[in-house]
């Protein structure tokens, strides 16, 4: 299991979504991806 960090700070929607979706495709089962965002819509 590996922990990954994706820095999506200062990126605006939909870029955090795109970067997250692209990174998720590279993960192995059990890996953890932490996404760091500043976009106000990130949790919606």
């Amino acid at each position: 299991m590996t922990r990954h960090i994706l820095d999506a700070k200062n990126l605006l929607c939909p870029l955090p979504v795109i970067r997250t979706q692209d990174r998720v495709k590279t993960l192995n089962t059990g890996d953890i991806l932490e996404v760091r965002c500043t976009e106000p819509g990130r949790t919606e």
Partner: protein, 351 residues
């Protein structure tokens, strides 16, 4: 050719978030075709950016229209980052620009071409767009439809359900994946047929029809992009460049530098994320916006920049306004200036 046990055809639909592409995807889906959506992020998409940054825009509910449309239609949406590839479309459009820096015809060919690649990679059968013949002066004309089909490589794999009856039958119709008689013959700039169809399909909420979804169709934005290219002596940009063109007042007092002055606290907050990459001015004596400075400038020019920036804070009528000024990657230095008067900022400095 079809791929699943039920012999169900599969279509990939370009989804902009507007009404036409929503209707086109819906019409095909209603015929029993499996539809998935594609939305391309070019960097110039209007989608919610000023909304996300500016204070007054935040009061409205925020939504990504493409995702919202996909949700309404009950289809999967794939948002594809095409920022790098799209540069060639913007910088070297084979068919030129529209009224502003909008390379609409090249853009349409590019997107349909990307959809064709996606379709082939994912085992889909045809492509759906919401194009209506005569709807747009540059990209949606009878003469340009074949150009998009040819340059995208899609040929007659491209179905335009809203005006299909005015076109030759495509692969989807010839193979019986869709019933041509149930498609439409919309043409011209009127939005009434689309609105009537939306009502007939029970679609009550949709993004404003014919609303631009691309900053390149905007005169002010295009002027700023052109200014950027002229100041650099070449047509080139990166993502940060084009995002910053969406933010703040842009004032160029000298050819080799310009100020980006936040217009509200939301923009100041956004520009904070960029301040370490730019010379910048933070107002300390009064409440005021953050100012980024793009380009190389010396100390006397920094003082000029500060006098301009002082005009846009609470101290605009004060005798002196103080800033923390950061030149390049240096440390903050206190800088005290007299704000310029409005008449001392020529209109031509505003980009």
């Amino acid at each position: 050719m079809t791929n699943n046990a039920q012999n169900q055809a599969k279509a990939v639909a370009l989804i902009s978030g507007g009404l036409d592409s929503m209707l086109a995807a819906r019409v095909v889906k209603d015929q029993g075709v499996h539809v998935e959506g594609l939305n391309f992020f070019t960097g110039f998409c209007v989608e919610g950016h000023t909304h996300a940054i500016r204070n007054h825009d935040r009061k409205r509910p925020k939504r990504n229209n493409a995702l919202w449309v996909a949700e309404q239609l009950g289809i999967k949406l794939h948002i594809i980052d095409v920022i790098e590839e799209y540069k060639d479309v913007v910088i070297n459009p084979r068919h030129g620009y529209g009224a502003n820096l909008n390379p609409c015809l090249d853009c349409k060919s590019f997107m349909v071409g990307k959809a064709r690649q996606w379709m082939q990679t994912h085992g889909f059968d045809f492509i759906v767009t919401g194009e209506v013949v005569g709807q747009r002066p540059m990209s949606q004309r009878r003469e340009t439809f074949p150009i998009v089909q040819r340059e995208s490589g899609a040929g007659d794999l491209l179905l335009r359900p809203l005006c299909a009856k005015l076109q030759s039958p495509t692969v989807a119709e010839r193979n019986g994946w869709v019933d041509r008689q149930s498609l439409y013959d919309f043409s011209g700039r009127s939005r009434k047929p689309q609105m009537a169809l939306a009502t007939a399909l029970g679609i009550e909420d949709y993004a404003q029809p014919a609303g631009g979804c691309c900053f390149l169709t905007d005169a002010t934005y295009s002027r700023k992009l052109n200014d950027l290219w002229q100041s650099r002596g070449k047509k080139a940009y990166d993502l940060d460049d084009i995002m910053l063109l969406k933010v703040g007042r842009h004032i160029r007092p000298r050819p080799h530098f310009k100020l980006i002055i936040a217009r509200d606290a939301g923009e100041t907050n956004y520009l904070q994320g960029y301040r370490y990459r730019f010379s910048h001015l933070t107002m300390t004596s009064h409440s005021g916006p953050l100012t980024l400075i793009e380009g190389e400038l010396n100390e006397s020019e920094m003082a000029l920049a500060a006098r301009i920036a002082a005009r846009f804070g609470q101290g605009r009528d004060a005798v002196r306004v103080t800033f923390d000024a950061v030149l390049g990657r240096g440390d903050p230095i206190p800088l005290c200036v007299q704000p310029l008067t409005p008449s001392e900022i020529p209109a031509e400095w505003y980009v």
